[in-house]
């Protein structure tokens, strides 16, 4: 059955024999030879069809048919390479961009944590905690006593797990001799078992490990690969974190990169209680680690619901426990206080991350969708145009007996081939684009187009196949077999249905193009504004790095930094050195309400009393070159024993000490720990990020504060800032060989990171705008050129009748200008809607920014004119006689 038993020739011979026998018999009945032959043939019907029937009876007939279709499609696509290349590249760009953005969006928003039964995992969030507490994130972090109370309730939750980074960025690690950096989290003992993350090697942690603060570590698959080259003997290796030795006991399952959104954790250790390994790498607060400090809410919590328990039920059980525990160490709540409220959030992805990137990504997805729409209509238009010129070929085939099914198959095969080629190219494009996008967005968790994205792309492609297959078929069948007989180009070009559809497509593309260009314009202008925002000081020659020395007492810390500053100051090329506790331009800040002269300052209702504070060393403002408006800067003479002094910015003075000389006033935090006397006022400058609004600020002098640990060093140097780093590293390592420079970079680069998502967004929008323009130009050119070619005969007749070339050119130009006008008319209001949606991502421009709109419209008109010029000049060049002779 798998081969044809009889040859086709044998079968043909049998059929011939049949007809011969019939003829013989008819002749016996008295017919003439000729009549008998005719009769016999007629009676038998189509011999060829029988032969085909026979041929198709073999089981592989359909495959054969497909192969033939494929070969045919190949040949016909190769015959028009310009069309094929345009269509494939258009598809690749449209679909590829879509896949790339979808991959990133999927990672950020949709991907579930690689854990067992992710549906039952929930993040624990809260409304802002009581007064008098410090938080890392006022909705997502909890104090250790709260965690302890929640995990012991034994109600609707199977487990409540805690995790907290060892540093806001990376932490100093040493495995061999050389210090390096890695990302590490401290976690509760049931972290791995509660999440359901398995270990590919060794073991996870136990409740005992947490209780004993065992010096153990589990490393991630990625870190194992990157740092240890997948060495099977890694278990037992000692990892020194901030100088504390930890033994590696396990390697986590592949794909688990921790719970820090957008970052991949390299190692986990059980919750510790020692100053070197405090949560977030913070120095001790009044000698207490996070465990002993009920007012520092710094742990993130994730829980697993018991099967069948809803979030609402679990919250109902936890709420009283939570609200009681929230006031540990704070006394009883005063009657007016709003108690914090616990809530549970699905832990399928990274919700807080989604907030930051989700909106821009969804908007980006919309832009990409528009580009895809342009690309698809472009290809449909190309195919329609191509198949209209092939109409006579189709009519001929219909006349020769090709069935509609054969047609559908042939056209579908052609589309399939185009889409497959486009899809493969798109996939390649997507791999690179995804990587670029991830790098731009600084998403460090692994980003690759994954299975779900593949399915998504496949769905888009399937739609493309059906669409592109069906559109030309309609055109082809509309022609009918009779068209083959008509030979006049005028006749075959006369039906208007298709051209109307073509016009609709062109207008649609224009509209979409205007929208994309406006969006791109708004975002690029936002970016320019952001980049040109004055920081309040010059970043030329500024370089910054962090150090986290082993410090056991404030005196030791002061000595270390004094020493370090002095040594760095002596390096050749260094102009000035300052130290700070919170690195500027890194989003980190310490926010408090502050008392002025012993009481909370009056602010107009609705005003905020929040003050951002930082702790800096002498010479800090001199290094930044931020001007002093009054008083003096910190000096070496400000010591722990001298009067405690502080510096404020002009916004602080304006808001809390209006109309007064701010110097000499005493300010303090609510907890009344360290009153300081204002000795200086500096000019407002950007502190956390480029796009922040001026906010009251106050600075402490580091030598006068008993909180000292990691510091960031700011240096202003002559020449290339980064060139000083090797020398600086040598200085640091002379003081302590275990110390790496943490995240060394120029201060400008640090500030630029704060607008990285806007930069990414604007660059991508600009890219998509450009892509749209190119695609629209190609599509418009194709459509117009095709229309002109169809009207060659008509133009010839017009010119023969006396039309001048100018009139012909105008006729063609007018055509595309009308389409452009309609497209712009529809595009501007749509762009306004999009602009409104973008409003929150804009900085310094309004959603109705005239320049962006004017540029977008001008861009579209230019594209239309450019794309029409060539067809128009071709039309004008038509020789009337030649045109008529082509009939």
């Amino acid at each position: 059955m798998f081969k044809q038993k009889r040859s086709a020739e044998d079968f043909a011979e049998e059929l011939q024999a049949h007809i011969q026998l019939e003829v013989d018999e008819l002749r016996l009945e008295g017919m003439s030879e000729e009549e008998a032959r005719r009769q016999a043939r007629r009676k038998f019907g189509s011999v060829r069809r029988e032969q085909e029937h026979f041929y198709m009876q073999g089981r592989w007939g359909w495959l054969d048919k497909c192969l033939r279709d494929l070969k045919h499609a190949f040949r016909s696509l190769l015959a028009s390479p310009a069309f094929t290349i345009t269509a494939v590249v258009t598809l690749a760009l449209g679909v590829g961009a879509n896949t790339a953005v979808f991959s990133v969006m999927h990672t950020v928003l949709l991907r579930t944590l690689p854990v067992k039964d992710a549906d039952r995992l929930v993040y624990l969030w809260t409304t802002p905690p009581p007064h008098g507490t410090g938080t890392v994130n006022k909705n997502e972090t909890f104090s250790y006593p709260v965690y302890d109370a929640l995990r012991n309730q034994n109600g609707g939750m199977e487990a409540v797990m805690a995790y907290v980074p060892l540093s806001g960025s990376k932490v100093g690690v040493r495995i061999g001799a050389q210090p390096e950096e890695a990302e590490g989290d401290m976690v509760s003992g049931d972290f791995f078992s509660g999440l359901g993350v398995s270990l590919q090697r060794g073991r996870g942690f136990t409740a005992g490990d947490e209780k004993d603060h065992a010096p153990l570590a589990v490393i991630s698959n990625d870190y194992w690969t990157r740092r240890f080259s997948r060495d099977p003997d890694v278990l037992g290796t000692t990892l020194y974190v901030n100088g504390v030795g930890l033994t590696i006991v396990g390697v986590a399952a592949r794909g688990f990169e921790g719970l820090e959104a957008g970052r991949s954790t390299d190692f986990w250790i059980p919750l510790q209680s020692r100053p070197e390994l405090n949560a977030w790498g913070n120095p001790l607060d009044e000698g207490k680690t996070y465990m002993a400090n009920p007012t520092w809410w710094c742990l993130r919590l994730i829980g697993r619901l018991r099967p069948g328990v809803t979030k609402a039920q679990a919250v109902a059980q936890l709420q009283p426990v939570f609200q009681a525990a929230a006031y540990t160490g704070l006394g009883t709540p005063s009657p007016g206080d709003k108690k914090p409220v616990l809530n549970l959030v699905d832990a399928k992805g990274f919700p807080s991350y989604g907030e930051e990137y989700g909106r821009p990504l969804r908007l980006l997805m919309g832009l990409v969708g528009l580009v895809l729409l342009i690309a698809l209509t472009n290809v449909a238009m190309l195919l329609m145009a191509r198949n209209a010129t092939r109409q006579r070929e189709f009519s001929m085939k219909l006349a020769l007996g090709a069935g509609r099914g054969d047609f559908l198959r042939q056209l579908l095969t052609e589309s399939l081939l185009l889409v497959t080629a486009g899809g493969l190219l798109a996939w390649l494009f997507a791999i690179y684009a995804t990587r670029a996008l991830g790098a731009w967005a600084q998403i460090e968790s692994s980003l690759a187009p994954d299975g779900a994205v593949l399915r998504f792309t496949a769905a888009v492609l399937a739609v493309a196949v059906v669409l592109f297959g069906a559109v030309p078929l309609r055109t082809a069948l509309a022609g009918g077999p009779s068209l083959a007989i008509k030979t006049s180009a005028v006749v075959s070009g006369a039906d208007t249905g298709k051209t109307r559809m073509g016009r609709v497509f062109v207008v649609l593309q224009m509209t979409v193009c205007v929208v994309l260009l406006v969006a791109a314009g708004l975002l690029i202008r936002t970016l320019r504004d952001l980049e040109n925002t004055p920081l309040g000081f010059s970043t030329d020659g500024l370089v910054v790095f962090g150090v986290k020395p082993q410090i056991h007492s404030p005196e030791q810390g002061r000595e270390f930094y004094c020493n370090l500053t002095a040594k760095l100051q002596q390096l050749p090329g260094v102009e000035s050195v300052g130290v700070m506790m919170w690195r500027i331009g890194s989003w980190s800040s310490n926010n408090n309400e502050m008392l002025v002269d012993g009481k909370l300052p009056d602010v107009p209702s609705g005003g905020s009393r929040t003050v951002r504070t930082n702790v800096v060393g002498p010479g800090f403002f001199r290094t930044l070159e931020v001007p002093m408006l009054a008083g003096r800067e910190f000096a070496d003479s400000d010591t722990v024993s001298s009067r405690h002094v502080g510096i404020i910015n002009e916004e602080f003075a304006r808001r809390f000490l209006p109309g007064q000389n701010p110097l000499g006033h005493v300010i303090d935090t609510e907890r009344r720990n360290f009153p300081i006397t204002i000795v200086g006022v500096v000019k407002n400058h950007k502190y956390r990020s480029i796009d922040e609004e001026p906010i009251p600020m106050a600075w402490y002098e580091y030598a006068q504060i008993p909180v000292i640990g990691r510091m960031d060093v700011e240096m202003r140097v002559h020449g290339e800032p980064l060139a000083i780093l090797p020398a600086a590293r040598k200085v640091v390592q002379q003081m302590d060989p275990d110390l790496p420079l943490i995240q060394p970079m120029t201060q400008r680069a640090q500030y630029d990171l704060t607008i990285s998502s806007q930069v990414l967004f604007a660059r991508l929008a600009g890219f998509f705008g450009l892509l749209a323009v190119v695609l629209v130009a190609a599509g418009l050119y194709g459509a117009l050129a095709y229309r002109v070619s169809r009207r060659t005969a008509e133009i010839g007749i017009r010119m023969a009748m006396g039309a001048r070339r100018g009139q012909v050119v105008w006729m063609i130009l007018k055509d595309s200008l009308v389409l452009t006008a309609i497209g712009v008319a529809a595009g501007v209001p749509s762009a306004m809607l999009v602009g409104r949606a973008l409003a929150s991502s804009l900085y310094g421009v309004t959603p109705l920014d005239g320049t962006s709109y004017a540029l977008a419209v001008a861009g579209v008109v230019c594209v239309a004119l450019a794309a029409s010029a060539l067809p128009a000049s071709r039309a004008a060049a038509v020789e009337p006689l030649t045109a008529l002779r082509t009939e």
Partner: protein, 123 residues
């Protein structure tokens, strides 16, 4: 041939009936395709006009099932033709299908011929 019987008199074959007719027409000895078509047409008094397309498809099918076998030979008037003959299996199939057919026609007859409607029609 088709001129002899008007279209109205012809009945389309029931599904599967053609196989039975082919097998039956081969009972009296090997025959070629054209002969089989003729035999069926003649014996049915021109009621069945065998479509050649389905005839050759059916012959092919029966051959594949090994109910008939074929070999090239010469016709009475010395024309080369492919002659089909029944295999042992084919004979068994014929007996079975014929019996089935009789049961079927009897059953249909019982229903169609019984009752007043049939009587009235005959009258």
């Amino acid at each position: 041939m088709s001129t002899r019987a008007s279209n109205d008199d012809r009945i389309s074959l029931l599904q599967g009936t053609l196989d039975l007719l082919i097998l039956k027409s081969l009972v009296f000895g090997p025959c070629h395709g054209q002969g089989i078509a003729r035999t069926i047409q003649r014996q049915s008094e021109d009621v069945f006009l065998v479509e050649h397309g389905s005839l050759y498809v059916a012959l092919q099918r029966l051959e594949e099932k090994k109910w008939i076998r074929a070999k090239w030979g010469l016709s009475e008037n010395n024309r080369k033709a492919r002659f089909y003959s029944l295999t042992h299996q084919g004979r068994e199939q014929l007996a079975e299908k014929a019996a089935q057919w009789r049961r079927l026609t009897r059953a249909v007859g019982l229903i169609v011929d019984a009752g007043p409607a049939a009587q009235a029609e005959e009258a």
